[in-house]
Symmetry: C2
Subunit: 235 residues, 2 copies
């Protein structure tokens, strides 16, 4: 029996890369369809056409496979987001780029990912959207790690573009932005059905509809009067 290759020194030669990629692709599809917990390694390896033990050999465990599924797409996407933002800031000289432009820089890499079927397309975004709501500590820690830098950079950019918002207020609004985005992209067919969305709408159209909604929300004045809430609730 051979020892498992050391964690980070695995060379991507043809065979192992073939097997690893087939596993990653099958995992992406099945995690989308059934969720992480509900997908067994037996279905997964069956769908990938590889031996059951291949997952543990190549990835170590099911958890590490899940992280690998996320990393493969998230890492390039968030790097692209940061690069776009930097390009925007270079272009603008010392002036802060507009809220719209910053938001678009954030959305476009997600859109590109959704468009590119060779990079996983819509499947992956649904896995990601689901992962946001996952309570497992390892998922939460992993996502935090993956997103921390990107979010921090964008928060600074938005703060400059929206000087009327406090840092705390903006933190919340970014929270809402990520919520609407992930929910839209992750939404299952059932929810689209619930919303009576026609199948003709693709992800590109979703983002084109999402953008004006989010821009308007980001630019909105800071706080609503509490008494308005009470007025209605008192009926």
């Amino acid at each position: 029996m051979a020892s498992r290759p050391a964690r980070k020194s695995v060379s991507f030669d043809a065979t192992s890369a073939g097997t690893k990629t087939r596993i990653l692709d099958a995992a992406e599809a099945l995690f989308t369809e059934h969720g992480y917990e509900a997908t067994s390694l037996r279905q997964l390896t069956g769908a990938a056409g590889v031996n059951l033990a291949a997952v543990n050999y190549h990835f170590g465990s099911k958890e590490e496979l899940f992280q690998a599924v996320l990393t493969r797409r998230l890492d390039p996407m968030n790097h692209e987001r940061i690069e776009l933002l930097e390009a925007l800031e270079r272009e603008a000289g010392g002036r802060p780029p507009s809220c719209e432009k910053v938001l678009f820089a954030m959305l476009i890499p997600a859109l590109r990912l959704a468009r590119d079927e060779r990079r996983g397309g819509k499947n992956f975004l649904r896995v990601l959207g689901r992962a946001y709501a996952d309570p497992s500590p390892f998922v939460r820690h992993f996502l935090h790690q993956q997103y921390a830098e990107m979010i921090a950079r964008y928060k600074e950019a938005f703060l400059r573009a929206l000087p009327h918002l406090s840092r705390q207020e903006l933190t919340w609004r970014l929270h809402f932005v990520m919520g609407a985005l992930s929910y839209s992209l992750a939404s299952t067919d059932a929810l689209k059905q619930l919303a009576q969305v026609t199948q003709a709408d693709n992800d590109e159209l979703i983002l084109q509809r999402l953008a004006p909604f989010l821009v308007a929300g980001l630019k909105a004045p800071a706080l609503v009067d509490t008494r308005k809430l009470e007025l209605v609730s008192g009926s």
Copy 2:
């Protein structure tokens, strides 16, 4: 051995209600913390202080328990939403109520639920937020059933309040609204960490911050120019 009581004719006498309620409370808490799939009936009945077989005796199966957990809170909340909307429309006579008022009527029952610890409080809203993203067919079908009427009524109300939006456009915006709402309320520490939100923020504050964001988004003009997207992405 006794037969299981008929599904709908179960009388809520003191003992069975006590056991059923303890199971529901424990399920609500554990589904929040670990998710549906990752919560075993053995932890659940252990936490509730009841026998393992009690879940199957009182609810039939784990799936039916999950539905019961959701129904206990969702049913009153969505009825309250519909009643608030009807009160609003009666008040306004033939005139359509404003977008703000309709949105508040939708948010307030959720806020009340979050406030009322005796009705489950924040725990339940997190279960719900997670359920939105659940891929299981039975969860999706159940939620569709629970929400269909409420969503349909609000869609008509928003259509009248926002005449510049097509039905399809509004469908999407309601989708975004539900996304931002459920995501905010369901968010586990991961995203709160991500957004560096202080723990002092409670759910009431979330909704007060969410409302102006959503109102602005709902009122926004319809579609962004596609070329704007291309302009930035071409960098």
